[in-house]
């Protein structure tokens, strides 16, 4: 084996551990705040609709649904958020993550036909995720089916005795000792120790801020190392997708690539120039995008290994079920799966001649509407 892949494996493993430690730190920070204070904060997200939009906006800001969902797992695991509000947030994260590849499509803006294809390839992901939320969010509000399914699955997994789910598992112990090491290290810094002694809420805020920063940094490094490691296989997978066309194989390729690099944005952003150049039809890129939606859910499942309560695993499974069900419901029915493609094509036709429409679309969908919604629903 060459030197570079070994380094990539070591770095990816280290940052995966650091990622789990960061989730634990987030949990510690929230617990340091105290139940009374967190209850007050929690009331600021007072409706599932607001939760949905907070999830969208937060993901747009950090440009990664994995960061948002991993943070949500940490918040749920620490008891700061309950499932009722966390589930819409996870759905919102799905919508927010599509902004990255939409921005990538702007790289093709100089060539009209190419931009049309690239913009359609990116926005079909937006429309699919919006459609999934429109279909499943009201159903979840009315029946709580996702919550029930996830709790059932969590209980089933715990019943199997899977090591990572046990409170005293070696994995959890290793993560806990890592988090304790970071906290000890911070307490040796006089300024931080002073905060801890005299103003524990500011100290807790700092811990939460650092934890989210560490989640972001560790995920960024996991993604870059895994991408370097998996480049050959990604290209192989995409060449297979080009040869086979769409279908279930393409969904599996999407899952595999995203699972490997821990980022749906990487997968969908790679597709944009390939569709833009015209060598992959938008219809064939669509199932790869759906696979990316499923593949990205693994990050939250990994994050759930770091938290103490089983609710962390439940919300992670909720993310899995939401993306899985949306694909199972929409993709097999031709008229349904054509909706996001047709809408994306229509929008890209409208934006090809008037580029400002594309900019307006991004601003309104990903910034103004979520902001307005948060204000209204709170």
């Amino acid at each position: 084996m060459k030197k570079r892949p070994v380094l990539n494996i070591l770095l990816a493993t280290f940052f995966l551990y650091f990622f789990l430690v960061s989730i634990k730190l987030l949990e510690k920070g929230i617990k340091t705040l105290g139940a009374e204070y967190t209850d007050q904060l929690f009331q600021s997200v007072s409706s599932p609709f607001a939760g949905l939009l907070v999830g969208t906006l937060a993901t747009v800001l950090v440009q990664s649904s994995s960061v948002t969902t991993a943070t949500i797992v940490g918040l749920v695991g620490s008891g700061f958020l309950n499932l009722e509000y966390a589930i819409p947030m996870v759905m919102g994260a799905n919508i927010g993550t599509t902004v990255t590849n939409t921005l990538v499509s702007f790289g093709h803006v100089r060539r009209e036909q190419e931009f049309k294809r690239a913009f359609a390839a990116s926005t079909m992901h937006d429309f699919f995720n919006l459609m999934a939320v429109l279909a499943l969010f009201p159903l979840q509000l009315a029946t709580g089916f996702l919550t029930k399914m996830s709790i059932y699955a969590t209980d089933a997994i715990i019943a199997t005795g899977f090591t990572a789910t046990k409170p005293n598992s070696p994995i959890k112990a290793a993560i806990k000792s890592g988090a304790n090491f970071v906290v000890d290290f911070l307490s040796r810094i006089p300024f931080i120790d002073n905060l801890y002694q005299n103003s524990y809420r500011i100290y807790a805020g700092l811990l939460i801020f650092l934890a989210i920063l560490f989640i972001f940094l560790s995920l960024k490094n996991i993604v870059s190392n895994m991408k370097s490691l998996m480049l050959n296989r990604i290209e192989f997978g995409l060449d297979r997708a080009l040869a086979k066309g769409g279908g279930v194989v393409a969904i599996i390729i999407g899952i595999f690539i995203t699972f490997s690099v821990q980022s749906s944005s990487i997968t969908t952003s790679i597709l944009v120039p390939i569709v833009g150049s015209g060598i992959l039809a938008i219809e064939n890129a669509f199932p790869i995008t759906l696979g990316a939606n499923i593949g990205t859910t693994i990050t939250a499942v990994l994050a759930s290994f770091a938290v103490e309560t089983s609710d962390g695993l439940t919300i992670a499974l909720c993310h899995v079920f939401f993306n899985l069900i949306s694909v199972i419901v929409i993709y097999p029915i031709k008229p349904l799966r054509e909706i996001p493609i047709k809408l994306a094509t229509a929008l890209s036709n409208a934006t090809a001649k008037r580029k400002f429409v594309a900019i307006l679309y991004v601003l309104i969908t990903f910034v103004l509407l979520p902001l307005l919604g948060i204000v209204l629903f709170n």
Binding site: N232, I234, E235, D239, V272
Partner: protein, 211 residues
């Protein structure tokens, strides 16, 4: 940067060259020998289609490679592959043109004086295609330089022949067919040399061996 598609592109260029070599030998034998044209025509045209498909595959793989490796992209290398594949693809087209000279009823098989020279040209250029294939897989600069120099030499020789024909200084049985033949042969030779320049020369110098 990943090696998967670059290896795959190298393999496809090699395959294009194998097919080009086959087309060149077939078309030259039709004109210089007594090969039955009907028996090789289908083979020749289907081989050209295979080359064209491989050319499109190379382009597709270049796009996938650039999309996946967008952050560490070796742009000069991709441009070199692009131009090289185009040059190799053109060899097949000129082989078809050579075949078409034979198809219109011209045969150099009985042109005793020039035939030996034609055969020596065929052998040299055929050897260049094989050398290009070796250069592509070994990436040895000396061998590429040698190929470029030999190719340039043959190119000059053919140019002189064309000039002599245009100035009516060379008497041949089929002047138009012979001029076209030299012209096509010159293009085949030039595309081989151009493809070789793409292996070692800076992007702006590719195709310009005289300047």
């Amino acid at each position: 940067m990943s090696d998967y598609s670059l290896d795959s592109i190298d393999a496809k260029l090699g395959e294009m060259l194998t097919n080009s070599s086959h087309m060149f030998d077939l078309s030259m034998n039709c004109l210089l020998g007594d090969t039955n044209l009907d028996t090789v025509k289908e083979n020749l045209y289907s081989t050209d289609k295979t080359i064209n498909e491989l050319h499109r595959d190379v382009r597709r793989e270049l796009i996938v490679h650039s999309a996946v490796n967008s952050r560490n992209l070796d742009v000069p290398l991709l441009l070199a592959y692009m131009t090289m594949s185009k040059d190799i693809e053109r060899i097949g087209d000129y082989c078809k043109n050579i075949f078409e000279i034979a198809e219109t009823g011209n045969s150099f098989a009985k042109e005793a004086e020039e035939l030996d020279y034609f055969i020596s040209l065929r052998d040299q250029i055929s050897g260049f295609i094989v050398s290009l294939q070796t250069c592509l897989s070994l990436d040895e600069e000396d061998k590429v330089q040698e190929l470029i120099a030999s190719g340039a030499e043959v190119g000059k020789e053919i140019d002189e022949k064309i000039t002599s024909l245009l100035e009516n200084k060379l008497e041949v049985k089929y002047p138009v067919a012979t001029t076209l033949f030299y012209r096509y042969l010159k293009r085949v030779n030039l595309h081989i040399v151009n493809a070789a320049t793409a292996i070692i020369m800076p992007t702006d110098q590719i195709d310009y061996i005289d300047e």
